[in-house]
């Protein structure tokens, strides 16, 4: 293979691994969106200068080891209970910046009650929700967000509505709650979407200090391994199948006035 001559000394670094993301090899499968989501979340923490006052909560799911990578104080919650743990942290430490990072099974199945009530109370925390329409960690079982007809290890003939019900659009549901301050759905499958998702995380963290309610950022992501696809293929599948059902965009945005008299 031909060698390219590099010109690093003549140039400025415009994009690099954030220092808030530890220099450790991540355990995620090749091409997994968890890695991108981790990086942009830590970039956001770092850019806002919040590393010293942030406490994160990791879920049970593939991202159970988020605390091996995110260089902030972290707690590992029981499956589904991350938002309750975050509530405990934030209520006793209102000056800290608190976030949870949770998968669809964690947040929208076993932890539905905690999720809903945390947002309903308007806890001043950021909830980052990674929707990959599957249980990644346990080997590809059906998730609450699994699409109709989507095959998983527990829906071998595809998800059937009469048996398993419809995929749960929990983000739309949460956006209805007065306790929610900012609710948005993003994705990390293209450079443009990654930029937007990071912006959403920046806002979600920044607006926490206004003490006006919960910020909720869904990130539609992939699971190449359990979807049985190559990473590139999985992002295409995401675009063609997930995004029509889970359209990207803001569902609840604070008004100018809400942002001004903070």
């Amino acid at each position: 293979m031909q060698e390219i001559e590099h010109h690093y000394d003549e140039m400025d670094i415009v994009c690099e691994r954030p220092a808030a993301l530890l220099d450790t090899r991540m355990h995620y499968c090749p091409g997994c969106g968890h890695g991108v989501a981790h990086r942009i979340l830590m970039e956001a923490v770092e850019e806002l200068g919040l590393q010293e006052k942030t406490v994160g909560v990791a879920p049970v799911g593939c991202s159970v080891f988020a605390y091996h990578y995110m260089n902030v104080d972290m707690q590992e919650a029981a499956h589904g209970r991350a938002t309750a743990v975050a509530t405990g942290i934030k209520r006793t430490n209102p000056d800290k910046i608190v976030f949870t990072y949770q998968g669809d099974g964690d947040l929208a199945a076993i932890g539905t009650a905690e999720t809903l009530h945390t947002v309903n109370r308007g806890e001043n925390v950021l909830i980052v929700f990674i929707n990959n329409a599957i249980y990644g960690m346990t080997g590809g079982q059906m998730a609450p967000t699994t699409l109709v007809t989507q095959k998983t290890s527990t829906t071998p003939y595809g998800r059937e509505v009469p048996v398993m019900g419809n995929p749960l659009k929990i983000t739309e549901l949460l956006a209805q709650l007065p306790g929610a301050f900012f609710v948005t759905r993003q994705a990390v499958n293209t450079p443009a979407n990654v930029r937007k998702a990071k912006k959403a995380l920046l806002n979600g963290l920044k607006w926490q200090t206004l003490n006006k309610g919960t910020c909720f950022v869904e990130i539609v992501s992939n699971c190449p391994t359990n979807w049985g696809m190559k990473p590139v293929e999985s992002n295409k599948w995401l675009e063609e199948n997930m995004l029509p059902f889970y359209p990207l965009g803001d569902m609840k945005v604070p008004s100018k006035e809400e942002l001004e008299n903070g």
Binding site: H7, V14, E16, V194
Partner: protein, 101 residues
């Protein structure tokens, strides 16, 4: 208008050869190497000196292993070369492009 010149460096030992950067690069400047790293993955490499430093590859990289560089021709970056302290306040003397903030 001439293209801005850019460059990337890849921490190949942490690369997992997922190819997401390859499809993200608008210049088709990245490809997977025929060599494998210690983890056994065909890692990504820059194959042509056409990088514009657009950061697309780096944005989609799940393993955060791509550093992107860009030439600072019109750099707004100012490097302080001296600092003078006096009673009216600190003055920074700078070289480089016009004053900015």
């Amino acid at each position: 208008m001439a293209k801005i010149r850019g460059d990337i460096s890849i921490d190949v030992e942490k690369c997992k050869g997922c190819e997401l950067c390859v499809v993200a690069c608008p210049q088709d400047a990245v490809a997977l190497s025929s060599e494998i790293n210690k983890q056994g993955y065909h890692y990504a490499v820059l194959i042509e000196d056409v990088c514009t430093g657009c950061t697309s590859c780096s944005l989609v990289c799940p393993d955060a292993v791509i550093t992107v560089y860009r030439e600072d021709r019109k750099s707004k970056k100012k490097t302080p070369v001296a600092e003078v302290r006096n009673v009216t306040g600190d003055i920074k003397i700078q070289v480089g492009a016009e004053e900015g903030n």
